[in-house]
């Protein structure tokens, strides 16, 4: 399937808006969209929502023989997939440029930065090591997949627990989660990617571009950093020329953003840990808001009552006194009385003129005797 093409007028509009420092969703130049991190029931499963972009990260482990060149180190394997449900432009089994770029950036960000201690993953040197596999699936594409994918990957790795092992000589016993508590991975630091999109030959930049903005961008700069202000990787694509101070400015902005995001991840991990310890319910089903309308339950809304008396008195003094209402009923016919004036009747059927002497009749000439309504005294009086 093809994605909706971007029309020329949209492109012009977006670029003109960027020149005036305005974005389509009302954000400022350096603002991120709302980030929401939720964990699943299994350890190592995490969904990150960056605005409308949704990414799922899943970590799993397996005991395998190590690589020959590194017999004492565990193996890390990263895989990112663009699901066709994310965007009509993604087709299954197609190696697009975007996919290759995202995979390589994710690998560089997590593997080369040595954020995970691979030596601790060794079980029996030269024979058995843990292979940690991180799978990232893109569920919805609304721009800035790289950031969301890196947040999902590092949150899933921090959340993951691997089974405990005991070694006796050459025998390895792997304990199930029921026998012994699983152990978290040893993570040194959390590298997070921050994307900067450049427009109009590098004169304007935006942080966290959404999908429309990504389509009109000239170039992209991705900086992977951790909260200790260490740059893990920088990648610039699109072939635009950047000045030195532009890159330095971006790295300063990135450090601020990364510290905010790291705090968010830690808070989410802490919440999840607390809920699991207390025995409460955890998982995706709990983190999605339930949209229910119940008629029996009503939320009590607090109402500000401090100056109600004064405001009410003011209103009463200001308004004119209402006209005297006629209160005595007028007897129209046997068993029928009328209080006050009636309004135009909106019923479709013709009615007998007797019943409504005050109100105008909708069809004056075509009263059909078969459709007359007679009001009997047992029925309640018509009151308007």
């Amino acid at each position: 399937m093809r994605d909706t093409p971007l029309s020329n007028c949209e492109r012009r509009f977006l670029l003109k808006a960027i020149e005036e420092k305005k974005r389509l969703d009302g954000r400022q130049t350096y603002d991120y969209r709302n980030i929401k991190i939720s964990f699943g029931t299994d350890y190592g499963c995490c969904i990150v929502e960056l605005g409308r972009t949704r990414v799922l990260g899943q970590v799993s482990c397996e005991l395998v023989p190590p690589k020959d060149s590194r017999p004492t180190e565990g193996i890390m394997f990263f895989n990112l997939e663009l699901s066709p449900m994310a965007s009509p432009a993604f087709e299954p089994n197609r190696q697009s440029e975007l996919l290759v770029m995202l995979n390589r950036q994710l690998e560089r960000c997590l593997r080369n930065s040595k954020c995970i201690d691979t030596e601790s993953l060794c079980v029996v040197s030269g024979e058995k090591v843990w292979q940690i596999r991180v799978d990232v699936h893109v569920l919805n594409h609304d721009g800035n997949l790289m950031d969301a994918a890196s947040i999902a990957a590092i949150s899933a790795l921090s959340h993951f627990r691997r089974p405990d092992v005991a070694i006796q000589g050459r025998d390895i016993t792997v304990f199930s989660p029921e026998e012994r508590d699983p152990i978290p991975l040893s993570i040194y630091h959390m590298p997070i990617c921050v994307s900067f999109a450049f427009f109009l030959q590098g004169s304007y930049l935006l942080v966290d571009p959404c999908e429309r903005e990504e389509r009109v961008k000239d170039g992209l700069l991705v900086i992977a950093m951790n909260k200790h202000r260490e740059i893990c990787s920088i990648q610039s694509s699109g072939g635009i020329m950047l000045l030195k101070d532009q890159v330095l400015r971006c790295s300063k902005i990135a450090s601020v953003k990364v510290s905010e995001i790291t705090e968010l991840i830690n808070k989410a991990l802490e919440n999840d840990r607390k809920i699991r310890k207390e025995g409460g319910k955890f998982g995706f089903a709990e983190s999605m808001p339930k949209e229910r309308i119940t008629t029996l339950k009503r939320d009590e809304a607090p109402v500000e009552m401090t100056d109600v008396k004064e405001t009410a008195n003011e209103i009463v003094n200001r308004t004119e006194t209402p006209t005297e209402a006629v209160s005595s009923p007028v007897l129209v016919a046997m068993g029928t009385a009328q209080v006050g004036e009636g309004i135009v009747n909106s019923w479709g059927l013709d009615e007998d003129e007797e019943d409504e002497p005050q109100t105008e009749d909708t069809k004056t000439g075509s009263v059909d005797c078969e459709h007359t309504i007679y009001l009997k005294s047992t029925k309640p009086c018509k009151q308007k």
Partner: protein, 223 residues
């Protein structure tokens, strides 16, 4: 009095569910025919409802069900906004939001001849009308009406923004006495093009001064 209309009249403005049935008998005079719109289906002597919604009526004898749906159903002679994606030989390929791209011949513009080609580039917006729009054939757009006049159709949109709307809102905008359009007119002058495929293009010619004052008013909530 027509028993046909009586049955329907009771239910105008009421919510109907699929499966509701009206039975009618065509009167002998012959002018008691009914036109059924979307949501109603004739089944022999009966008219069945197959979509849930509110029954609407338009004089003299048109009835249809007003329902909410997200899938755009475009028929012949619907006006839509399309984006030109490719120029190949004599025709333009236009994306109208469907699974197939529509074809628009370059001769289907007002005043276009073989020598005098219209000035249409890839990525331009066109407002056109369908001549073929069924599920078995490639859809075909034209930008002239049956007399050969443009009638508002053609390439447009040098400025402004194209965005998508829900179908219900789009129908309310296109209604003859649309209150939404009237309210918007009072606030600021603008041009609006509404396509039946849920796309809307809008443009306003205001100086940035006027725009700033308008934003201030909106921020104060005085609108």
């Amino acid at each position: 009095m027509d028993t046909v209309h009586a049955c329907f009249e009771e239910k105008i403005g009421e919510v109907l569910l699929p499966g509701d049935v009206f039975s009618f008998r065509l009167p002998e005079s012959g002018d008691g025919s009914i036109k059924t719109g979307p949501g109603l289906r004739r089944n022999g002597e009966e008219v069945q409802v197959y979509k849930s919604g509110i029954l609407r009526h338009k004089q003299p004898n048109m009835y249809w069900i007003d329902s909410q749906q997200r899938r755009v159903r475009v028929l012949d002679s619907h006006h839509v906004i399309g984006i030109v994606t490719a120029k190949s030989g004599d025709i333009f390929k236009v994306d109208v939001g469907g699974s197939e791209q529509a074809s628009l011949s370059y001769l289907a513009f007002e005043g276009a001849t073989k020598r005098n080609r219209p000035n249409v580039q890839v990525g331009d917006l066109v407002y056109g009308q369908f001549t073929i729009a069924n599920k078995d054939m490639e859809p075909k757009l034209v930008c002239i009406d049956s007399c050969g006049r443009a009638n508002g159709m053609g390439v447009f949109g040098a400025d402004g923004l194209l965005f998508k709307l829900s179908l219900g809102l789009m129908r309310r905008l296109l209604a003859p006495q649309s209150e939404i359009a009237k309210d918007l007119e009072k606030i600021f002058p603008f041009e609006l093009v509404v396509g039946m495929n849920g796309r809307v293009w809008s443009c306003e010619n205001m100086t940035s001064q006027q725009r700033q004052t308008l934003f201030k008013r909106v921020a104060e909530g005085s609108l």
